[in-house]
Amino acid sequence: MDLSFFVNQALTGLASASSLFLVASGLTLIFGVSRIVNFAHGSMFMLGAYAAATVYGPIVSALGPAIGPWLAMLAAAVAVGLIGVVVEVLLLRRLYHAPHMLQILATFGIVLIVQDAVVLIWGYDQIVGPRIPGLRGAVTIFGQRFPQYELFMLFIGPVVFAGLWLLLHRTRWGTLVRAATRDREMADILGVDQAKLFTTVFFLGAALAGLAGGLQWPREPANIYLDTRVILEAFVVTVIGGLGSIGGALLASIIIGLLQAFGILLFPKSTLVLVFAVMAVVLMVRPWGLLGRPEPQSVSDLAETKTAPPAHRYAAHAFAVALAILLVLPLFAPDYVVKLATQAIIFALVAFSLNFIVATGGILSFGHAAFFGLGAYAAAIAVKSYGASTGLALLAAPVLAGLVALGVGWFIVRRAGIYLAMLTLAFAQILWSVAFQWVEFTGGDNGIVGVYMPGWASQTGAYYYLTLAFCGIAVALIWRIMFAPFGYTLRAGRDSALRCDAIGIDVRRHQVLAFALAGAAAGVAGGFFTFLKGGVDPSLLSMDISADALIMSLLGGVQTVVGPLVGGAAFTFLKAYIMPVTDQWRLVLGIVIIVLVLAFPRGIVGFINARSGWFGGAKDEAPVASTGEKLA
């Protein structure tokens, strides 16, 4: 590698770092004041690119090529900023005191809605950007030609950083933002108008993302995959830099930009793995990111969760009826429905195992797809590459998923709350990219096909019963464990780590084991999914599956034991029947999520339960007077 090439590559990396910083600074600013991890931030970037594509032509023809392009970019940024304001005012403002899980899911709902909205408005085809007048050429640096626009990009990041710094340190608004970032409660007590502050911060954050999207458009065509790619990169940058730290975002942008520019030379296939590996190492050494401040140990997310066994006889009746229907279903239902029911059972187990660690264990995972996908791939690879029997393949699935979950769990439980959620997401994405890029082993994009059960078990009905039996056993085991000392200990750790420590309980050790257990259960589900579908592909490891699993829990009722089972089944059938009749499944799902989060956060079972108390535990108890007076 000669010097000129090295410099050129470095400059390219820094230009990307600029773009990354614009997105990440908005994300970190929003997190700083609102403590919301905004999944929709990548969508704002994508909207910025499309908005620029829409206004560019008219503005340039009206105002000429000298200032037109820049005004178009600014207009796009302002438009996206206003969309950010709408999202904040209509949705997120209602969720500032909600658990992390609801906040994350709500912003994920926005992601889904924007994805379909973009397709509806601009179509599937990508829109190639223009070459900006005045910056069309290239300059020669160390004998290599370097595009002028890239050079311009390189300076944008530092300029925006300087502007933000002045805004935050030299204006009253900036002082309020910094105060709220440091201590939200205190800022509130001191009379800062939070609503106004949050709205303006969301405007600025979204506008920065929009600006980044607009500026990216000449470098990369506007397309419908921008949001996911950008949000993941922005997450990595903010986590490495420290959530809430603008300086950290700049530093981390540069690290990631350079890492990608040079990493692609060293490991052309696995830059994503490299990026996530760096993130993991940084978090090992500095748990709160390079320039982040420790978050005060928050009271656990779902501390109000009460899990109790079915208390009412109606619950037992309902359970018996459900089981009876499950047992006789293949006798009268058409094949299609039986296959769908098999899938519903599989996803009920995925959601149930996830809810076990989220609600009982207080471990918010946004990467449960990792273990579902690992199980699925383990089964498929065992059969295809190693010629294993189906029984062995189905055994390999939970064993591999469980062992990997044990290792991952050991690492992630050292973090809490939102950092933990982002680490699980990062891990799932690493696996996803491995599955995608390690073509020889995993079949890459196409995955592995032709993995079916032999003989009698290949019949739809037989496979249904097989799935019901094994997934049922897994559910029953986890259910039992929830009410065993181990499950109680997890709840205890979730309720008060301080108290646990003072009665000799090592909370983390229990959490790691729970994570491994849930991973193995998801692996069981993955193994059965492989033989149901006859193969695997990388989408099984995608963020969508992780999100679906959380949505299933939410739909059924996070704070109930049976909720995730009901939610998993309901979600599977809803999806199967709604998807064929609309091209906008994501739009529908996004709206459903937002309605659930805002209006029915207790889910189906929780809703029934709050009215009837059938499923025990969750009916609200009235406060009880002190015994002290009587004893005195």
């Binding site: 009410f483 109680y488 000799g504 309980i505 015994t627 002290g628 004893l631």
Partner: protein, 252 residues
Amino acid sequence: MSALLEVNGLAKSFGGVQAVRDVSFSLGRSEMLAIIGPNGAGKSTCFNMVGGQIRPDRGTIVLDGQDIAGKAPRDIWRRGVGRTFQISATFMSMTVCENVQMALMSHHGRTRALLPLASRLYAEEAAAILDRIGLANRRSHMCGVLAYGDLKRVELAVAIAHRPKLLLMDEPTAGMSPSEREALMQLTADIVRQEEMAVLFTEHDMDVVFAHSARIVVMNRGAVVTVGTPAEVRENAEVKHIYLGGTLEAAH
């Protein structure tokens, strides 16, 4: 008989602030010892170093002949130390009885059991403890709905579940009515007598301190001012000065 707890030369600073410097005292078996002092005297820091929540910079904390300074709270608990917190820490989603059962499950090393029903484990033992604490009729209430004074009792029940040699109570009566205070401290004194348990506590309420402690450690600005019986401390000029301000100094 040797002392149960011997604290020697304990020191801790946070950043540039020397919160505790060279603190030494000892505690006999079945003794109730109070640490008092104005705000910022270093009581809580001292206290949390004994409990393991804060790691001391220097000094030894010898419990029954073994140095526990810098050990994790879990290890200290295992050596027979129970504690309550200033802001009570209980398991809010569990019933009062389950809170105590949790401590018993941990004590018996059963927290990783996967199959038995937790609600049935050590239920009678837990009920017996709650009887003594006066919470028998709150047994199946969720902790989340209890009144503040009762939560303090739940904590006490959880803290004594494994029959510790030493009980640490950080501001046990803070926020309670006077009658509740007296009841709680009387209860503690009874337990101390029956179980031969020693108690180290910090407390703001002087009536409670003088009525219930055998000896008192007075701290100010991170150091021990004096250690003595309530009567001795009451007569100590320096203590009067700390609590009542400069006017008395002129009288001397």
